[in-house]
């Protein structure tokens, strides 16, 4: 009795055999997972494949090798049909993968189609007519130990090994295979590259399942009858269910998830010693205030330190005072609950930077253009919100967002301001950004400024010393500079709406999400017989032109003359002057006809 007849060798040889069905199925599931599809319907597909494969063995005519080949083909075809159903549901009809997989198991599994076919085709409890026999394909079957284990198996076992190599090659070295992985890892990016996500998904779904179903043909060798209990899915121990899930697990865990395309593309960020730590742009709390700082790169110590700071800050969130980290230095965030408290804080900390929507301040923090020691978060100050009407004048709170100015009473009273608000950034920006912020930033390109200027708005400034109002024209003193004192906060803008026809226009490289290359607001004030126009992005501050309404035809020339544009990244002075002329002509046409 040789070493090859020992129990250990026999068990291992059987292990290889029994592992083969799982290998087939795992390879199928691997393809599915790589294309981004979680297929829980494997069991149903396998059982139908098994029933049909066995039917092929029983029915096909011809020599044994042909019968077995046909049977494998039948099983694969049956699996393909099943996975087509699954692919149609999940890819074409976009149904949930998990639920569809379970539904497929109910449909095709041990109490469904497979059982029906098994009984109806008379397959249950009948011995198989043909079976795969072991072949010694490499002539190595007599080797001690490894011979019987590896080289005395049937054709399907060898086929499964070949398939491993083929699929590895397919996924790693061919264009369609790489496409599959791309679709699985990032469908959006794949779509942008021109790969058909739906087609890849369904093709994969079909092909992979076809393969897995051959596995059942192994059954005839060991149990030369189709086990009824197996068909009804009620075996104890490591049954088909369990096998299915092992496959899912194996497909997820084993094959090189280690180097995904994404992580391979990701460049490790290296931080020079002493370089400033960036506040991660997307770490914003609901109040628009950075809650936690993140560090690029792998500087563990820095990260640990910041995380501790972040955790400490998180513990203190309920208090008005927050500490966050920016530029490697601690930054205090003060969140007053009332205007009185806010003014007191501003008096104590004149250097504190007021933040409302954060659409301007956060950009500066993120690009490390500014490192304020104290941020004054005005989001929780109720007095600054909304708008009200007093003696025919409109009070726009400095916390009034563009989204609020776009609709309702404000839009009716100040149509040009509403038009301007609609052109600001994206819906998200419009929901956060505020008129007060636009005034505070005092950018020549501020979209809310020209409409307010043509309507003769006044800015209300408050401090612990008292409240004063300044006409908007005097408030704007230079590019990004305004006339407020360090201890003052902008609390509102006052406007007496003229009610005249008015409009706002701006020019940018596209129609949305742009900062104006130049902008123009025009109002025809019939009561005073005056035409007023204000232009933005064409001078150090937003400029105003006003003249009698009867001279309206001269508006384009007067605006172009008054503008003091410069050449910059967004446009040249000559272009701006020209564009203002065109805008003025259009605006006249719009409001006077």
């Amino acid at each position: 009795m040789g070493v090859n007849d020992g129990i250990v060798v026999e068990v291992l040889a059987q292990a290889v055999l029994y592992g083969t069905p799982i290998l087939f199925a795992a390879l199928g599931e691997l393809l599915a997972e790589r294309s981004g599809v979680l297929n829980l319907g494997v069991e149903g597909m396998m059982l139908v494949g098994a029933a049909m494969g066995f039917w092929g063995v029983q029915q096909a005519p011809g020599p044994e090798w042909l019968v077995l080949l046909l049977a494998v083909g039948t099983a694969a075809l049956a699996g393909l049909v099943m996975s087509s159903i699954f692919a149609f549901l999940t890819v074409t009809l976009r149904a949930s993968q998990i639920v569809s997989g379970l539904a497929l198991t109910i449909f095709a599994g041990g109490l469904g189609l497979a059982s029906y076919l098994g009984n109806d085709l008379g397959l249950a409890n009948v011995p198989a007519k043909h079976q795969f026999s072991e072949i010694d394909v490499f002539g190595l079957a007599d080797l001690p130990v490894v011979g019987p284990i590896l080289f005395h198996q049937n054709a399907l076992v060898y086929a499964s090994w070949a398939l491993v190599v083929l699929i590895a090659f397919y996924l790693g070295r061919t264009r369609p295979g790489l496409n599959v992985r791309a679709v699985g890892e990032n469908p959006g990016a794949a779509d942008a590259m021109g790969i058909s996500v739906a087609r890849t998904g369904s093709a994969r779904a079909r092909r992979r399942c076809a393969r897995r179903d051959r596995r059942r043909l192994l059954q005839p060798r060991d149990h030369p009858r189709l086990d009824r209990r197996r068909l009804s899915g009620r075996r104890r121990g490591l049954d088909c269910h369990c096998a299915r899930d092992l496959l899912v697990l194996a497909a997820r865990a084993l094959p090189g998830r280690r180097v995904s395309l994404r992580s391979a593309l990701r460049r490790p960020a290296v931080r020079a010693p002493g370089a400033p730590v960036r506040v991660d742009s997307d770490v914003l709390s609901h109040s628009g205030v950075p809650q936690r700082a993140a560090v690029p790169g792998h500087d563990r110590r820095a990260r640990g330190r910041l995380d501790r700071v972040g955790a400490a800050a998180a513990r203190r969130t309920r208090r008005a005072r927050n500490t966050v980290c920016a530029g490697g230095a601690l930054m205090e965030v003060l969140s007053p609950k009332s205007l009185e408290e806010a003014l007191r804080i501003k008096a104590e900390h004149p250097e504190a930077v007021a933040i409302q929507g954060g659409t301007d301040v956060m950009v500066e923090l993120n690009f490390d253009r500014r490192r304020p020691e104290v941020l004054l978060n005005l989001n929780e100050v109720g007095e600054l919100r909304g708008c009200s009407r007093e003696n025919g004048r409109l009070r726009l709170g400095s916390g009034l967002t563009y989204a609020e100015a776009m609709a309702g009473g404000v839009a009716e009273a100040l149509p040009a301001l509403a038009e301007a608000s609609r052109t600001v950034g994206s819906p998200q920006i419009r929901a956060r950004g505020t008129i007060g912020g636009n005034l505070g930033t005092a950018s020549p390109a501020g979209d809310a400024l020209p409409p307010l200027l043509v309507e003769g708005a006044e800015v209300e400034l408050a401090s612990v010393r008292g409240v004063r109002t300044v006409p908007l024209g005097e408030f704007l003193v230079g590019p990004k500079r305004n006339a407020s004192e360090p201890d003052e906060l902008i609390t509102a803008a006052w406007v007496a709406p003229s009610g005249g026809p008015q409009t706002f226009m701006k020019v940018g490289p596209r129609n949305a999400m742009v900062i104006a290359v130049c902008s123009l607001a025009v109002v025809a004030d019939r009561e005073r017989g005056e035409l007023r126009a204000a232009f933005g992005s064409a001078g150090p501050v937003v400029g105003l032109v006003s003249f009698p309404l009867v001279d309206s035809g001269s508006l384009p020339d007067r605006v172009a003359e008054a503008a003091r544009p410069i050449d910059d990244v967004r446009g040249t002075a000559a272009y701006r002057r020209h564009a203002l002329r065109v805008l003025a002509a259009r605006a006249l046409e719009r409001i006077l006809t």
Binding site: F88, L93, F107, S285
Partner: protein
């Protein structure tokens, strides 16, 4: 040519009409299958209806089958609502049944029924919740896929109860008679420990079903009226947005997995207290019923709305009930699964019509040209 485009508005009536349409289509398809396999569809449908919903006896069976489905459906709905794919309701139900029967056996028959039920429910829910928290903690702290861990834990739970009843001398195992020594079985509940039923008319409504409806109401309140439910929805819709808003996804994952597991565990407790009165570890018992997996289908068809889950649970319970009734010499059991599968496919596929518009023929071509 066919084009599928997203609807700008989803009319409310559509979300009610489409499921009915889908079921109608499904019955049409099933009729084809039945005719081609030599059965009379009309006759079969009448038998399904009679078996599932005609008369008190039919309803009693339907409710018996529906009760565990409602529990597992609710368990899945809680988790899936937050995009937390807890496939483990199956195992959580086993553990719930295990703990609940353990509580009943340990307490013995000499306590007030209310106390026994309370103890069983608490133990069942706690057991299910702890089992679910294994996956939950792995997800929250190690970012493991909860789909895989909860799925694999189902088998661990199944093998655990099999071991306790069949392969060991555990406190659950009944060794009092020669019969139970030969055919292993768990210690049965005494009649004084059976859960009560409500019986309006001839109908027998199990206590577990009422409990499930109560939980559905509780979950509805949780989803709609509490901050917790709101945060669940936000985290489900966008984890990043939730994080920016300062919501704590990790805690929520643990809490939601706990709730989900507790509901499934209660399902197990109700299974022991209401129906089987033993811990049925045999291959034909708890483990063959696939309550957990079917519950996921129930939850999906009910769109994770607790009340819809109850309704779908009852309908699916009826369908299963009809399936048991139908199968016999003239009606192969395999066709029952095929019928159920077709209904599920149609309702799942029909969901598309709610969110998308399908255009055919020349209009589709025109639409495709209009939107380059």
């Amino acid at each position: 040519m066919i084009a599928i485009e997203r609807r700008l508005k989803q009319p409310r009536w559509l979300s009610y009409a489409v499921p009915f349409l889908s079921v109608a289509v499904a019955f049409g398809l099933i009729a084809l299958v039945l005719v081609s396999t030599g059965h009379d569809p009309w006759h079969t449908y009448r038998r399904i209806f009679t078996a599932a919903f005609d008369g008190a006896a039919a309803w009693n069976d339907t409710l018996t089958l529906a009760t565990p489905l409602v529990f597992t459906g609710l368990a899945a709905a809680v988790a899936f609502r937050m995009q937390l794919f807890n496939i483990g309701a199956e195992g959580q139900l086993y553990i719930g049944a295990l703990c609940a029967s353990g509580a009943a056996i340990w307490l013995g028959p000499h306590h007030a029924l209310v106390f026994t039920i309370l103890a069983m429910c608490v133990c069942g829910a706690a057991g299910g919740a702890l089992w679910a928290l294994i996956s939950g903690a792995l997800k929250a702290f190690a970012r493991t896929s909860e789909i895989l861990t909860s799925l694999m834990l189902n088998y661990v739970a199944g093998l655990l109860i099999t071991y306790l009843i069949f392969d060991s001398a555990s406190p659950w195992r009944d060794v009092s008679t020669i019969q139970t020594q030969t055919f292993p079985q768990s210690i049965a509940l005494r009649p004084s420990q059976f859960w009560p039923t409500a019986s309006p008319g001839n109908l027998v409504v199990p206590f577990g079903f009422l409990l499930a409806v109560g939980i559905a109401v509780g979950l509805y309140v949780l989803f709609r009226l509490t901050r917790f439910g709101f945060e669940m929805n936000v985290i489900g819709d966008s984890t990043r947005a939730a994080r920016y808003a300062g919501m704590r996804a990790r805690r929520k994952i643990l809490a939601v997995m706990g709730i989900s597991g507790a509901v499934a565990g209660l399902g197990g407790a109700s299974q022991v207290g209401d129906f089987s009165h033993v811990l049925d570890a045999s291959p034909q018992g708890l483990q063959a019923a696939n309550y957990g997996y079917t519950g996921i289908v129930v939850a999906a068809l009910g769109r994770y709305n607790p009340f819809a889950v109850v309704l779908v649970g009852v309908l699916l319970g009826g369908l299963q009930n009809a399936g048991f009734f139908l199968q016999g010499a003239d009606f192969p059991s395999g066709l029952v699964g095929v019928m159920q599968g077709i209904i599920l496919f149609c309702t799942l596929g029909g969901e598309l019509l709610i969110r998308y518009r399908v255009r055919f023929g020349r209009r589709a071509a025109a639409a495709a040209e209009a939107t380059p």
